[in-house]
Symmetry: C2
Subunit: 383 residues, 2 copies
């Protein structure tokens, strides 16, 4: 069998990707350990590592001070050769986080914003939140490779807000375009519930599952789907909108908690449900009844998703996941009665961070597709 030049450069690319994957998964390795993991001879791996070092993707780790003798050289992936930003554009807060290429969070900030703030004020809060992260890590916008933002609403594949019931002023906005004017890097915009589902899948409660229904519940109701190990966006990027079906009983479900008699008069709307959930935890019968009615409704839309998709796992996330101890037992009970097979039901482990962390993970996956897959072609110089 003859090998053409194309076959050889293809093998070289695959070996480079194998080496990078091994270093990213395990941390620094010696040449011998890396060759062993990649199934290559040590001289072949030396060629691969030298090339990756010349391109800036891999570097030698300096020996620890005080090391005796001449230790074997160890190499690491340069996750800090680029930086990523994740943004969670919520009704009351804008959160931002800065990470390296592996998604390790280096800084986080939060900027409060009024739910009815004008468009420009909300965009200014995004800029302040991102600048705060950069300043805290002594980075500049030029260090950014990608920024991923999560927003409520239906978002078109090119990053416009097609429809937002939560922030009406947002509808029609070319969010990706506005962010592109603000930051000189690649811009990704995605539905916030889908980003939260991605975060639970990559580093949260759903790490061991490939088919997941993520319930993004709090003052608003959303859902994110992981199907066969991938976030399901849908053909028009509008998947997960179960709350838009009146029969799902999702849209108004939180009203059972907001209007409960245990909520003290004058409580701001965003804090009302918390009072009801806290009173239910203490056994207050009025609060428990309101929680029961809320879970009745939550279970209808959830059962629709479970009967349709038969997931391995349902994750309760979003603001109300802090009250998972109150919500999960009655939710499991309702689902058991409605579904053919009750999947495992767990609470989110990321809580309020789920969207901003999911935005980081979305940016990490984007950079991986861009550079670290066989389809991406030969690796470029990293900087």
């Amino acid at each position: 069998m003859d090998l053409r030049g194309g076959d050889l450069s293809r093998l070289r690319q695959l070996n480079s990707l194998t080496a990078i994957r091994a270093l990213r998964e395990t941390g620094p390795l010696t040449l011998s350990a890396l060759a062993e993991r990649a199934g290559l001879s040590r001289p072949s791996m030396k060629e691969v590592v030298d090339e990756l070092a010349a391109l800036g993707w891999v570097e030698e780790v300096p020996p620890s001070p005080g090391t005796m003798g001449r230790p074997a050289r160890r190499y690491r992936f340069r996750a800090d050769s680029g930086h990523l930003v994740g943004v969670d554009i919520g009704g009351h807060n804008v959160r931002a986080a800065l990470s390296d290429l592996d998604g390790h969070v280096l800084a986080e900030t939060r900027q409060p914003v009024e739910p009815d703030a004008p468009l420009d004020e909300r965009l200014a809060a995004i800029e302040r939140a991102v600048s705060g992260c950069l300043a805290a890590s002594r980075k500049t916008p030029a260090d950014l490779w990608a920024l991923a933002a999560g927003s409520t609403g239906v978002i078109t594949p090119d990053g416009r807000i097609a429809f937002s019931s939560a922030v009406p002023a947002w509808t029609g906005l070319d969010l990706a375009g506005r962010l592109r004017e603000m930051f000189p890097c690649e811009i990704l915009v995605e539905n916030d519930s889908r980003l939260a589902a991605l975060a639970e899948f990559r580093r949260g409660a759903a790490r061991d599952a490939r088919d997941v229904v993520f319930l993004h519940v709090g003052r608003r109701m959303g859902a994110g789907l992981i199907i066969d190990g991938k976030v399901h966006r849908g053909f028009g990027a509008a998947a997960g909108e179960v709350a838009m079906l009146p029969e799902s009983r999702w849209f108004d479900a939180p009203e059972h908690l907001n209007t409960c008699a245990v909520v003290p008069p004058g409580t701001p709307p965003e804090d009302a449900a918390g009072h009801t959930l806290t009173a239910a935890r203490s056994g207050d019968p009025v609060a428990l009844e309101a929680v029961g009615r809320y879970v009745d409704d939550l279970a209808v839309g959830t059962a629709a998703m479970v009967l349709l998709l038969d997931p391995q796992l349902v994750v309760l996330g979003g603001g109300f996941s802090r009250s998972a101890d109150v919500l999960l037992p009655p939710l499991r009970d309702r689902l058991e009665r409605r579904c053919i097979r009750l999947p495992e039901v767990r609470a989110s482990t990321l809580g309020d961070e789920c969207v901003v962390v999911g935005a980081i993970d979305h940016a990490v996956e984007h950079v991986d597709r861009r550079f670290f897959t066989p389809e991406a072609g030969p690796l470029p110089i990293s900087r």
Copy 2:
């Protein structure tokens, strides 16, 4: 860069699979044409083809009689080196079809069976239907590599009927086990709506789409999902059971058609809906009202699937797809009002054949995974 023995045999396997894929997609090819398509030199391809011929997967096509001179040899994939059977176990009929490894149907049979027939009678009908196909093609059970059967109900991953509302006697049956006693080949059992969706995806109305909601509607209501180019089974093989959610309004939807005043007294239950649909086609106002109520209900469960998955395409299949001209315009109208993005809605092109053809396609995919993927390892001798 050095190449180890493992790398070389791996490359040889990949080249064999490339050659087989090219021959299956295009039909007979000369060595030069095959080498061109696979990106290999002619001598390398000669080695590959000689090996495949020795293993029995590829053979030379005899030159047509009367060909002048010495034409270039052409090779073909031996799709007839194995045979597959698909079975559709319906309430009123058992259908069977026999195909080659490429899924080309060689024979088909149908055996009527009473909806309340005892278990053994239904199994005997399966045996007669399959034997009929084998006899018509002068094959024996020993020629079969795999048999795939479709049945209504929830089917466990190991081929038991966990639950069947349509054929109660079926519930609890180890269908795969019983079929294995009857036929000396690999046995696959799958939900019939999922097989029908697969057939529409591989050779029917959904060939150009990767995300499809298939409505399997007739006397019973079922759904099959294609997500990212694959049939979605679910973690416990129970996906698509939207009819089990009362709020979907699917379970009793056909009653609007069955109980319409235009159905003549004494009509057998299985023919009732047909009368209503025919009268609606002629403009009968009573029948049109019944069809309207039916589509109202059909649209609720369908909208739940569309809002959740945002598919590219909805296919109306099953027995009622013969009346797609009557059903599709009002269904599109209801979905447009309920959904964020109206997907394209089309009628099935396979009609009543969809399940048996889908069973064949399921067996084809099984054999492909077994032999013709990089993960399957080196090709064995084909017989």
